[in-house]
Symmetry: C2
Subunit: 184 residues, 2 copies
DNA sequence: GGACACATGTAATACGTTACATGATTTT
DNA sequence: AAAATCATGTAACGTATTACATGTGTCC
């Protein structure tokens, strides 16, 4: 019984949540997601659902609308079991550990910029994160109104993360990173 | 002038920060990093530095210690330019957007667990994140003492993110996700 | 001097991305 | 009817991971 990758687990979860559903509706979720981590590219999704079906974690039923023919997926009992196992507990260190953050990665090398560039780096980042935060906050309120609690919690998590990031960026600016010339 | 990937930019930054340095010392950074995002596997690092050298972003000098022979890398002017370009500003949407979080991904499908499992999920996550937070906080204090401001800021960022996550997990538990049976 | 970690790689494998291809449906 | 979009794929490509291979230094 092999482990599921992040993407596999996520797709399995999406099938669980909206079964029966077409492969495209799964893909749509990734395309519409505000998180840019997965592109939801065709070359990722279509082969993946084939793999999941071969492993008997999902099964498909023929489905057609008008002249267009497709199929809809649903979870098998083994699929539900695999999903639960993937979800945890227990949680792995990769799940619990510090999530990666491209902005944090970059800040480590801020010293490679000129002082002026550093100031612009931080200002641009703060502006950009603020903008994203506003979008997520709106999303948050919408989901709360709609009463979909799972979606609301996810939005809350995203909001908290952006909020923490923004606070941290301001802290960084205050700590006068800009005051430490170290350009080489 | 092609764009740098995350890993390429990061490695370039590491070379910038510690030049002249051996490929292994680069790899060491990933192996020792508390963030589990990149494994620092040999098959990733060694071919990557070769690529960077072929693109004339870094250059190597022969170097030997005793009977063991190796090479040390340093940034070329083009490499510094590429690093600065990768760092930004301007920042891309992928850099600024909501960072991915395996825990958040999983929470979306919490309804697939039984109520008891959900409670354990949240408790286990809270415990695990707390443990990580303590480690990061200690790291934070150490770096502050050592006076390496760049490293301190990174640790602060990691701490803030874990802190936000923990707060969110408690919020989630309080919002009684556990009270919504939706198992299928 | 044998065991083990250090240091540097290569090969097989897996998988996500981009680009391309194709037919159905909707819009103009 | 032409154009755009929806929906479903396949192929080529790049690259990160694991596993394997090899030689050096250190420790008992």
């Amino acid at each position: 019984m092999r482990f599921l990758s992040e993407l596999e687990g996520c797709v399995l979860g999406l099938v669980w949540a909206r079964q029966p559903c077409t492969p495209y509706s799964i893909r749509r979720q990734f395309l519409d997601s505000p998180s840019p981590h997965w592109s939801g590219s065709t070359g990722a999704i279509y082969p993946l659902v084939v793999r999941l079906e071969r492993r008997r974690l999902i099964r498909s039923a023929a489905y057609s609308q008008g002249r267009r023919r497709s199929r809809v997926f649903s979870l098998t009992p083994a699929g539900l079991k695999a999903l639960r196992r993937w979800l945890g507990p227990p949680h792995s260190a990769e799940t619990l550990g510090v999530p990666s953050d491209p902005l944090r990665t970059r800040l480590e090398f801020l010293g490679a910029l000129s002082e002026q560039q550093r100031i612009r780096f931080l200002a641009d980042a703060e502006r950009g994160v603020s903008a994203h935060l506003r979008v997520v906050e709106q999303d948050c309120r919408r989901r709360q109104r709609e009463g979909d609690w799972a979606a609301y919690l996810i939005a809350l998590g995203a909001r908290g993360m952006l909020h923490a990031r923004l606070k941290w960026l301001r802290q960084s600016a205050n700590l006068q990173v800009a005051a430490r010339p170290r350009s080489r």
